[in-house]
Symmetry: C2
Subunit: 200 residues, 2 copies
DNA sequence: GTCTATACACCGATAGAC
DNA sequence: GTCTATCGGTGTATAGAC
């Protein structure tokens, strides 16, 4: 298993000014929240005119949701990138788990933005398509149960706890400002704990 | 162990109009978010004049933080209410765990509000006193490790995972709209999983 | 303490030139 | 596509009567 899971999200995916707008918005939203960040401030930080912002996103809400979609898609791509056929289920889970947490470490603004977004009313505005992304890991749990590798619990419940743990461990790492060697230990240790909980 | 963990929060603790304002604010914040809820709307729903709101809270931010403090204190009181001396550590943990989750079920608005608040920039405005409330469970973990009841992991890390799991399981219960008998099963089952993870 | 009335800043969004 | 200029709407907070 490789050691580094770096994965940048927004930087390369869209063109010039639009990218600047998204990057500026991300930083400011995380710092000040959605409300306290006027579009004028975003435009200024992005180095574009106020009107230009509304050329790309016809409302502020649309910008916010677009930013979330962008980030979430990038995370999913990043986590699934290392998928191989020849891999035990435990290794696959460990890789998913590690990649997700390291992604949060490499992209702290993106991570905090998603947290903020998910528990906001904007969450109701995202497409069902994007919402169903979590289905993937639930399916993997079902497969694991069928193969008698995982304990026969409600898959959705286990999935929820796992996602919650990814957020929790990430939060812990960020709060404690853990650098690489210690960080890896914490990730491994917590994975072992969780695996002990879910595996037969 | 008793079966019902009901625990209302805001309703009784403060006087008349002020209580109406907090209740109205809570409902509207959860429905619309902080931004999309003007003070005028809060005042209207509370049945008071706009100026009255600013008599009790000199800024909107102050109102938001006060609401969080109120709710958080209520939750803490509720969880600690059943503390007894003669109780095994496992029972105490199970009671804390169960009470916290059931509190979220009984107070869905309060629960969603805290989620929204914690991941917002307002979180930076709360007193250090309130922030340190989580210290209590961490200390209990340390005690458990010393007594060789719990595995010798980083206490903070375990605490973070536990809190994350409480949120996660609550979310699962709410999303699945589980009623009492099934809900209890899920809580017990998930606690057993978690206890298996943390206990020696 | 509670109300009415209002000041005034500010923001989201548009119009239209280039 | 990008800019400047601007408008209409709205929100926080205050002033002052009761």
């Amino acid at each position: 298993m490789k050691d580094v899971y770096l994965c940048r999200v927004i930087s390369q995916s869209v063109a010039d000014k639009q990218r600047d707008i998204l990057n500026a918005a991300l930083t400011l939203f995380v710092e000040n929240g959605f409300h306290a960040t006027p579009t004028s401030m975003i435009a200024k930080k992005a180095g574009v005119a106020n009107g230009t912002l509304f050329h790309y996103y016809s409302t502020k809400d649309e910008l916010i949701v677009a930013l979330y979609t962008e980030i979430k898609t990038g995370l999913a791509k990043c986590v699934l990138a290392g998928d191989t056929e020849a891999e035990t289920m435990k290794d696959k889970w460990k890789r998913y788990y590690t990649t997700a947490i390291e992604w949060g470490v490499d992209n702290p603004k993106e991570f905090r933005f998603t947290q903020q977004f998910i528990s906001s009313p904007y969450m109701g505005m995202v497409s069902d398509e994007l919402k169903k992304q979590g289905q993937l890991t639930t399916d993997l749990i079902k497969e694991g149960i069928k193969k008698k590798i995982l304990k026969a619990n409600e898959p959705e419940l286990l999935n929820t706890i796992l996602i919650g743990s990814v957020y929790a461990v990430n939060q812990y790492i960020m709060d404690s400002k853990l650098a690489y060697p210690e960080r890896k230990k914490v990730i491994n240790k917590s994975f072992d704990m969780l695996w002990g909980m879910m595996a037969v």
